[in-house]
Amino acid sequence: MPTIEVNYEDLQMLVGEHVPLDVLQDEGIMYAKGEVDEIEGEVLKLDMKDTNRPDHWSVEGVARELQGRYGHKKGVPTYDVKPSGLVVKVDRKLKCIRPYTVCAVVKNINISHEVLSQMIQLQEKVSMTFGRNRKEVAIGVYDLHKIKGPIEFTSVKPGGIRFVPLEFEKPMTPAEILKKHPKGLEHGHLLSGLKEYPIFIDSSGEVLSLPPIINSNHTGKVSYSTKDVFIECSGFDMKFLLPALNTIVAALADRGGEIRSVRVEYHDKVRHTPDMSPKKSSISVDYVNKVSGLKLSRGKICELLEEARYDAKPKGKSIGLLYPAYRQDIMHPRDVVEDIIISYGYNRIKPVAPKLHTIGSETEIEKFSSSVAEVMAGLGFQETLSYILTNKASLFGKMNLPEGDVAEIENIVSSNWSVFRNWLIPSNLEFLSKNKHREYPQQIFEVGDVVILEQKKETKTSDGRRMSASVCGLNIGYEYMASMLDALFSAFGMEYELVAAKHPTFIPGRAAEIRFSGKPVGIIGEIHPAVLNRWEIENPVVSFEIDLRRIMV
């Protein structure tokens, strides 16, 4: 969800009408699926929610939506495109490197501070969020007058050419840029493993850019004196490239720029870009009302669509549609319905509480867990809650156990939370270790999930629901916890057995396996002083842990 900054005056100028700030906040910005996050003087910070609507990520795009409601422009925005005469030749060598580019020229733009900052912001947000952090879409904008056509999109060896990258002074090879330039360090991984790197060069041998890393400082710098620009988007898939280019071109055209197409020559075909002609679709009136629950007439739907910047023409029980070339998010008629409802206004719809007769229920394990917790609380234990994520030291080393197998996270945020716990007593001990200076005795329990590796399962794991209880304090020992355990089982009218067990976490001779119907279901014991030392717990602890699914009847 990108956040963008727009200037309020600039926005109103583009809309062509005064839109009071409170109206914009409460209603207007919703038409662009946005929310005003912060206001700093004239600058509005907007959260733009739809990751599939890059056309909303600049003031020009937001203004386009508002024009349909507050201004005088409705229906599909039209953009006139004339040929520029510029040619870009794409080398077939790029097939496995970065195979495609789409290009455009925009002339006669009056580049003010707002125009420039919005252009940079849009370029950044589109390549970042929509372009998957430049992987799918890398965008370059250049001063047209510093370029001599035709342009070649080809590839070079990492050390095969030198140019001055943006904001640098000395010429560098692509390999050096990847090692030294901040953008090279940030995006260099996108070129890793390649023997040659993609490059745009003009006919005089001047480098335009090394996509998707950096532009040249000479051609790839747009300033207030720039009038005409050349724009290229490069990547792997036209589904990403075309809408990205159209979005940027539309924004510049809304600033008064004139769009000129570029002839892009592949070895096997020629493509003229951009193509700003609207796309066609249709929708049935019944479907709109079936999804929305509203009773909208065909005429009303057409009106709402025109406000949402569609062209809408009634055709029997359906409506013929034209929508802008920069929109690639319309995959299903459902997407059009949402635009109609947004246009209608979510808050104008009367909410109707659905009346469906269904019977509610909880899962058996949740019901049983609640009952167990109730008994434990009745026995005077405080319930605790902790994270399922933990670390190997807590599960094994600190518990006097050899390291075992557990489910492990790859991209950890912190080594403290790197694996899924496979038993619960460590969570009790961690809690007690954090409460050394609190009043004793401390009686705690937790009902929680653990993750057990299990090859046969669909997810190679199974979740276990466990309950563990611990008491920490002087003069409270094994017998006390054994009677608590007895009370718990008795409360459910269940028989159990305790069988002496050897377990390194507990003091030898003071641990027992808990058996239910002859099967092991848990363990009880007094924690070994070596374990207490590792947790820095200074009072004796007796704990038990039970697998609740195994005793649930």
């Binding site: 008629p333 979510y346 007769h357 434990m376 996270i409 945020v413 899924f420």
Partner: protein, 387 residues
């Protein structure tokens, strides 16, 4: 000796005779009483002597003596004990005073009843868990049945079945955890996989264009910790649902957020689905409004357009809480046909998720999300029991 003679000489003859016979000391032969053997040690006699002289007597024999009315329990001692207090001020209301009625003749000392008792901590549910339990109860009352699903999921159920494109930014590794061990799980039956694949690639039979890329089953089989509760909804839809049907889940979810006052290591999501042919967007809004008033005590609600990869139209609800003002409370929408059709569901499915952690924070009066999992026993002991 003749029986008649013995009867004359012996007090309580019939009792004595039956005891003597029982112990085998005497026998009756043709009207005469014959001594068979002389009695040795007689426990009862010794015990009686013991009682007389104030010595301790075994329980068993004492019971026999009591049963034969040879001894009786005397109240004299307690009376004596109680007598000592007559006219005096006493602290302890003793059993003796109560039994003998002597309490009428003593003055029971008044206590400093204003003094607080010694600090005790009751066994309590963890406050956040208690809150979740209340939400669960409420949802059951509203007719929702609970769903389940595993903590470790395949990307298939977490993403693919939800029509989230494999190269979509929301699947970026910075947004979700990936697993080092175990790495891959197995995919559901082929017919389900094929339909999901088609929806992604070209829309299949869903009426959609699809995302237009080559869907990779290997990516879908990768394992990950559940990133949202919607994975449970996808499984439920595929497993089969009642129509009309209402389902919910409150599940622990995992995302690699940097931990701060609003992002914990783990969080809970509360979500649900409503399936019926009659479900429309205005009913979605009605359901959300009901949740806001029932669960958050909202005075007013506002709806905002929103975006989720698996719902269209999508909506966010803000609720006006009586004390806290406007809070983002719920996100919802109608599941995309590209999601429901491949899972075999023909009816519209309303899907909703509640900002349960934020609501819990409001209810428990805490400002740092990490406190939901507080590791401080004093804080837990101090926490009020919410009703």
């Amino acid at each position: 000796m003749a029986m008649s003679e013995v009867r004359k000489k012996t007090p309580d003859f019939s009792i004595a005779l039956s005891w003597a016979k029982k112990h085998g000391w005497v026998a009756i032969d043709k009207g005469k009483l014959v001594v068979v053997k002389k009695p040795g040690k007689i426990d009862e006699r010794d015990a009686l002597k013991g009682v007389e002289s104030g010595q301790a007597v075994g329980d068993k024999v004492l019971r026999i003596l009591l049963g034969r009315n040879l001894v009786f329990k005397e109240r004299e001692d307690s009376r004596k004990k109680a007598m000592k207090f007559i006219g005096k001020e006493v602290t302890t209301l003793s059993p003796e005073l109560i039994k003998t009625g002597m309490w009428k003749k003593v003055k029971l000392k008044p206590y400093n009843v204003g003094a607080r008792g010694e600090k005790k901590y009751p066994g309590k549910r963890q406050p956040y868990n208690r809150f979740l339990m209340q939400v669960r109860e409420k949802l059951v009352q509203l007719g929702f049945a609970e769903m389940s699903g595993p903590i470790i999921e395949t990307e298939f159920w977490n993403f693919d079945a939800l029509f989230q494109a494999q190269n979509h930014p929301s699947r970026d590794w910075t947004q979700t955890y990936t697993l080092k061990k175990p790495r891959t799980g197995s995919l559901p039956p082929k017919n389900v996989v094929e339909k999901v694949k088609a929806a992604h690639e070209n829309g299949g039979r869903t009426g959609s264009t699809g995302w237009g890329y080559k869907w990779d089953p290997a990516k879908a089989a990768q394992l990950m910790p559940r990133a949202h509760g919607t994975a449970c909804s996808a499984r439920q839809l595929s497993k089969g649902v009642n129509v009309p049907g209402k389902y919910f889940a409150i599940k622990r979810c995992f995302r690699p957020d940097v931990i701060d006052a609003t992002h914990g290591v783990e969080f809970n999501q509360c979500e649900g689905i409503i399936i019926d042919e009659s479900m429309t967007f205005d009913k979605m809004l009605g359901m959300l409004k009901l949740f806001a008033t029932e669960l958050a005590g909202a005075e007013d609600v506002r709806f905002y357009p929103d975006y989720y990869p698996f719902t269209e139209p999508s909506v966010q609800l803000s609720a006006k809480h009586p004390e806290l003002g406007w809070i983002e409370f719920a996100g919802a929408g109608i599941f995309r046909p590209e999601m429901t059709e491949p899972l075999g569901v023909k009816q519209p499915v309303l899907a909703w998720g509640l900002g349960i952690d934020r609501l819990a924070m409001c209810k428990l009066g805490i400002s740092d999300i990490r406190h939901l999992f507080s590791q401080d026993i004093d804080w837990l002991r101090r926490q009020k029991v919410t009703v």
